[in-house]
């Protein structure tokens, strides 16, 4: 993802963590974090009617950057 910088990835993780209940703890934390991120991304992309890829892309980031309500879209 050459066009997406580290700061945007952190922002995206924070967005998914707050609004799509990204689990913080897992036995294999790195692997679980990666698969959870993909799963939550798919949920988020589906919610907003975006192309469902499970990966962070410009279209998804643009939606994440819009001002919004802080109530989760998908309950934990």
């Amino acid at each position: 993802l050459p066009s997406i910088d580290k700061e945007e990835i952190t922002m995206a993780e924070d967005y998914l963590n707050k609004l799509y209940a990204l689990p913080k703890k897992a036995s294999n934390e790195k692997l679980q974090r990666s698969s959870s991120m993909s799963m939550r991304l798919k949920e988020m992309q589906e919610f907003f009617g975006l192309k469902i890829t499970g990966t962070l892309n410009e279209e998804t980031l643009n939606v994440m950057k819009k001002p919004r309500c802080g109530v989760p879209d998908v309950a934990a």
Binding site: F47, G49, P67, R68, C69, V71
Partner: protein
Amino acid sequence: YSVFPGNYKWKKHDLTYRIENYTPDMSVAEVDDSIQRALQVWADVSPLRFTRIYSGVADIMISFAVGDHGDGYPFDGPNGFLAHAFPPFDGIGGDAHFDDDETFAFKSYNGYNLFLVAAHEFGHSLGLEHSQDPGALMYPNYVHRDVDTFSLPQDDVNGIQFLYGPNPDV
């Protein structure tokens, strides 16, 4: 539309609200008017009625706060998250919090229109979750609308009437 899982709704139709503090972005009268109109959009299409109180605990406590304000859901500074509200239940349920790091506006386009943000949040206060309909008031992203001609979108009308029924006075 969507409702919170677990059938969160008020078991009464007469609800109270209290404005605990004010944003410096607008006059007191402008905040009062924005909040009153934001509640009225829901009252217009449902049996719910709202009465303002000036002391004690209201069903819907309304406040402006920044950063970590003690509810476990800290605000994030300018832009990003503008506000949040809790579904109907005892205690903090129904309460609406607005991020005072934002610039709120009464009529101008220089800021987030408080009436629109508040009307959305009060949807949560009454039991509605976010809608996937981009035209709905309960869509999660902020969309500026002409507040002088605003009428509650049909998706939101359907949602509130699913929970409480129609306005018996209409």
